[in-house]
């Protein structure tokens, strides 16, 4: 009861005409920033923090606007994944797998509608979880040790082979390529430089967002150039401009399953939205394996990862607010924002500055509703993007990619890295190797290694520590069960042709 009144107080703080206008602006700007490749929530919020200050906004108003931008980016990231096969930000990579095939088949508006609904369900689930359980769930972060994180990443890598419907060996090869790329940089445990060729620019390794923009956007342009040379690219059939209500709900229960999996990943600091989207997709694919058409435009393949990454974004706010630990780049920016507003996240935040926290939570609910109502009408606008001639769209993609990457680090070195990844992406595509597992290897590989190193530092090199905690053992058991299930399913005759892989 106390919580309800606290939340009501939060809404009272959040709902004023000025705040509502700022919330709408934040949602709109956030969606666009998220949709543009390279520009993500990290630089989106970082860029707009000075704007909030120069407008002289009240701290609560600034917080509301910027948290709307944060949630807006999470909604927006999916748009270019679906329309262009270019993820707008890291968590949106999984949405390319089924979203783009669906758009290519002329069902772009359906894909956008399914993902908008999934984003809404996931984000609402995450926000409700944050409201009800924040102090309780903060404990999860405390009892999850390095060995347990390692087991979680083992689970992710063990299931990575099933992520695409092409040859699983090529998928594994791609994941290992990503792992290798992740080893470049300063070794966090000892500070030793690895594969940096003596360049300070490589000390921090390759930024995943630069790799993603290169691998997907630049290679897309290269593939397009080749097609033009060979005689014209095929126009994508447009399909209907606005989705029907039935199409919106096509995600069905996958929305909720994805939300649960994503939320669990979100509350673990360091795991975050990318892992949430990935695990939701893998889980959904296993769950619906018998009649699935995953990889060729299954609605559940869009709904699950979108619900997952949005639920994870809500979940990731829990360790950030209650422990002051940013789990990802985006929550790190939110942390910076709170600190610059003189809000000190940590164990005492809920007791000391309840107005601010409940105002923020209320703003997240508002942002969610605003985003859903804003995104459905915008579908018509975005589907028309596909009717643009490619010779306009592709140069625009190149321009946005360069600007986006440069705005992250202000470094021309990263532009070369991006182009290098673009060429690599082109070669991999020509070899029929999927790009998504490369990025997953890169995103998850570094964390997996760090946690292994931490576990072994604690045990002075004794590998037994990896199997000595109940959490880790449970995770290994689930992994084994998932692999066994995949094996059993592969022995049974497939129900339809689409389930046959390679």
């Amino acid at each position: 009861m106390e919580m309800v009144s606290a939340l009501a107080q939060g809404f009272a703080v959040a709902i004023t005409p000025t705040n509502l206008i700022l919330a709408l602006f934040g949602c709109f700007a956030g969606t666009l920033i998220g949709a543009l490749p390279g520009l993500g929530p990290v630089n989106g919020v970082a860029i707009l923090i000075p704007l909030a200050f120069s407008l002289g906004l009240e701290p609560t108003s600034a917080l509301i606007m910027l948290s709307c931008i944060y949630y807006g980016c999470m909604y927006g990231g999916r748009i270019s994944s679906i329309m262009l096969n270019i993820p707008g930000d890291e968590p949106a990579i999984m949405t390319t797998l089924d979203g783009y095939p669906m758009a290519k088949a002329g069902r772009a508006s359906e894909a956008l509608a399914i993902s908008a609904v999934a984003s809404f369900v996931g984000a609402t689930f995450g926000t409700i979880g944050l409201t009800l359980f924040a102090p309780l769930l903060a404990k999860a972060a405390i009892y999850f040790g390095p060995a347990d994180y390692f087991a979680l990443y083992v689970m992710a890598f063990a299931t990575i082979g099933g992520v695409t419907s092409v040859n699983p060996f090529k998928t594994l090869l791609a994941a290992f390529l990503g792992l290798m790329i992740a080893t470049v940089g300063l070794d966090p445990a000892t500070g030793t430089a690895r594969y940096t060729l003596g360049s300070f620019h490589l000390y921090d390794g390759f930024d995943p967002i630069v790799a993603i923009v290169g691998l997907f956007a630049i290679s897309e342009v290269l593939v397009y150039l080749e097609r033009v040379h060979e005689g014209g690219a095929r126009m994508v059939p447009l399909g209907r401009a606005m989705p029907r209500l039935k199409d919106m709900m096509a995600g069905g229960w996958a929305n909720l399953r994805g939300s649960v999996v994503g939320f669990i990943c979100g509350i673990l600091p360091g795991a975050g939205a990318s892992l949430g989207a990935f695990m939701s997709y893998i889980f959904e694919k296993r769950w619906s394996a018998r009649d699935g058409r995953f990889g060729s435009g299954d609605p559940r393949g869009i709904a699950a990862p979108e619900a997952g990454n949005n639920a994870a974004s809500g979940g990731a706010l829990i360790p950030m607010l209650t422990l002051g630990i940013p789990g990802s780049g985006t929550t790190a920016v939110m942390l910076a924002l709170l600190i610059s507003l003189n809000v000190q996240p940590g164990p005492l935040l809920f007791a000391r500055q309840p107005d601010m926290v409940w105002g923020l939570i209320a703003a997240l609910y508002l942002a969610n509703i605003a985003l859903l109502f804003m995104n459905i009408p915008m579908i018509g606008l975005f589907t028309r993007m596909l009717s643009l001639p490619q010779w306009i769209l592709m140069p625009f993609v190149v321009m946005v990619s360069f600007l986006g990457v440069y705005s992250i680090s202000h470094s021309s070195f990263d532009l070369f890295v991006m182009v290098g990844f673009g060429v690599m992406g082109y070669v991999l595509r020509m070899l029929g190797i999927a790009l998504v597992p490369v990025v997953l290897g890169l995103l998850l590989g570094a964390d997996m290694e760090n946690n292994l190193r931490r576990a072994l530092s604690i045990s002075t090199g004794d590998f037994q520590i990896l199997v000595s905690s109940p959490i880790a053992l449970t995770l290994y058991a689930v992994t084994a069960a998932m692999l066994a299930l995949a094996f059993v399913l592969s022995l049974r005759p497939p129900k339809n042709d689409a389930a046959v892989t390679d």
Binding site: G145, G191, F200, A332, V333, P347, L349, L381, S457, T460
Partner: protein, 322 residues
């Protein structure tokens, strides 16, 4: 209508560009948003504007890479004479310089000032059997690998070196204290939560980031590595009081390019000193676990160079630098 989304996209990009290109002074935080250097830039940048010491809000640029080495190289090579640029740094940056991990030594920059300092602390969980520094040293002397100690830096970083300085002062030999188990986490917050969860037994890190955990009573300060007791926690003893003459400050300050004129350099030192003299700064510093300490201009320049030399000596002694 069909070009609307593109136009808006261009507008967003344009906004970001015009911010980056504004003529206001710029503060480079050589790290991702959310960290200590980012905090230094954002807080002090905002206060300089609030106090009307600069005409326009200070633009904060995040330039992560190489624990500050990328920003150092950038300023050295292309912005050495940019009078509108300041760069946040701290003891962590100087440690890297002292260990030869930056592209150049301290002489290529002009060191402006430090305005405050974070204090290194040795922490244990609230129900730990270790009640004093003596208890800790006693256990480590008996068996150096008996305890797993965590911090926010790699082995050989400032959090680790401070711990080893204590061991050294207590009379442990290099061969013994090399065996102390060191676990790196991505910040003091994760290190402390992992300690509360029982993964490690002791944490050596800065107080500022984790002060909330001390206030809430989840962890205890075994020793503060400062000359005097930390004002926010008057009940927590220093290492000096417990007989080990070790301090481990992590000061926050700024440098600017080596080619900046004496006038521009002096103007920055002056602005920062005026800010330091306000009550607002002292209040903000204390709220964030910093002790307000001023060293500016030539005095600070000499202090940084001296600190780098001392750290280099310590690093050699404990075998971090060959």
């Amino acid at each position: 209508m069909r070009n609307l989304s593109k136009l808006l996209g261009a507008a967003v990009v344009w906004t970001s560009l015009s911010f980056a290109g504004a003529t206001a002074a710029e503060c480079i935080a050589p790290a991702d948003p959310g960290g200590g250097w980012d905090f230094t830039c954002r807080t002090i940048g905002k206060m300089l504007f609030d106090q009307k010491l600069v005409d326009a809000p200070i633009q904060v640029t995040n330039m992560p890479g190489g624990v500050g080495a990328v920003a150092y190289a950038k300023v050295m090579s292309s912005r050495a004479d940019d009078a509108d640029l300041i760069v946040a740094t701290s003891t962590v940056g100087v440690t890297q310089i002292a260990q030869g991990k930056y592209p150049a030594d301290t002489s290529v920059m002009r060191w402006l000032a430090m305005l405050g300092s974070d204090v290194g602390v040795i922490l244990v969980p609230k129900d730990s059997e270790l009640k004093s520094l003596d208890d800790l040293i006693g256990v480590l002397k008996k068996d150096p690998s008996a305890l797993a100690v965590a911090g926010s830096t790699a082995a050989g970083g400032w959090d680790h070196i401070r711990l080893l300085m204590l061991a050294q002062a207590a009379g442990m030999s290099g061969d013994a204290y090399k065996q102390i188990r060191w676990v790196q986490f991505d910040g003091g917050g994760p290190a402390v939560t992992q300690m509360i969860g029982g993964q490690v037994q002791v944490v050596s890190t800065d107080l500022g980031e984790i002060a909330g955990f001390v206030e809430s009573g989840d962890v205890r300060i075994l020793a503060a590595l400062s000359d005097e007791r930390v004002p926010a926690f008057p009940d927590s003893p220093t290492a000096k009081e417990q007989g080990l003459d070790v301090t481990g400050y992590n000061w926050r300050g700024f440098y600017t390019g080596g080619g900046v004129s004496d006038d521009a350099y002096g103007a920055w030192v002056d602005r920062l000193q005026k800010l330091y003299d306000t009550d607002d700064w002292k209040k903000t510093a204390q709220e964030n676990g910093l002790v307000p300490v001023w060293r500016g201009g030539a005095e600070f320049d000499a202090y940084v160079k001296d600190q780098a030399e001392k750290m280099n000596a310590i690093s050699r002694e404990i075998g971090v630098v060959k």
